[in-house]
Subunit: 136 residues, 2 copies
Amino acid sequence: METHELRDVGLKVTLPRMKILEIMERETNERHLNAEQVYKILLSENEEIGLATIYRVLTQFEAAGLVSRHHFEGGNSVFELNKGHHHDHVVCVKCGKVDEFTDDIIEDRQNQIAQKLGYELTDHSLYLYGLCPKCK
Amino acid sequence: METHELRDVGLKVTLPRMKILEIMERETNERHLNAEQVYKILLSENEEIGLATIYRVLTQFEAAGLVSRHHFEGGNSVFELNKGHHHDHVVCVKCGKVDEFTDDIIEDRQNQIAQKLGYELTDHSLYLYGLCPKCK
DNA sequence: TTGAATGCAAACCGTTTGCAAACTT
DNA sequence: AAGTTTGCAAACGGTTTGCATTCAA
């Protein structure tokens, strides 16, 4: 139940936050949503929640560590529910489907490259773009 | 001389285009510039070129294959002069310095991952963020 | 001379913010 | 009852566009 997840991260339990969290839990596995998409899903379920609230709630969720924000090609932010482990993404440029992966070899190489160039890494982002099985 | 590069890609030779191309050639190796930065450099050299023109020219350069556009963390676009070969980037989060690299092992792994997940890759982006030698 | 390129200001779009009203505790 | 959270509309920042003027060929 979303109630506990919200309380656990110190957020007051409100209807908008519960609904948005519920949607993130339902949809994250298939695709990552932007604020507009969350807004439309809410509308289609007859929940009249303002777009500004969605941005605010998602930003709070991000600060609380419940979701991460990504900037895919094109620019606007998409959000994904956190499941704890680091991973990278493959994004379908046609339908928006997202697959996740981790690869130790790639991680190692990144660290080696950073070291060789003298950088102290703080973060990295790796996105693969293409057509998913259904779309090609 | 910038004149030929412009003619070669089918662009009329104008002062804004020459100046902007010249700046890209001077600056690309050290850092990748956004439109605002190009604008300020032009101003500092007493060239009064409108920001809208800079966006238009950079977009034309991109279409002509002269430059690439990237979306680094934070969101706004930065441009880099193309030198023909594919490469990825390490970006200093403090000073904006950019280093480039390519790594065949990473490229291979990316292709294998895409294949395993059934994607037909069209593109990818890999950015490492950190502190460069001077900034850490 | 003629069509393309520029400058300016206004439009745009995703996102954020100020404020009064509606909620959670 | 006290303090948050929400909705609305207005503001914002980077980028694009319409239109009259200026320019390259």
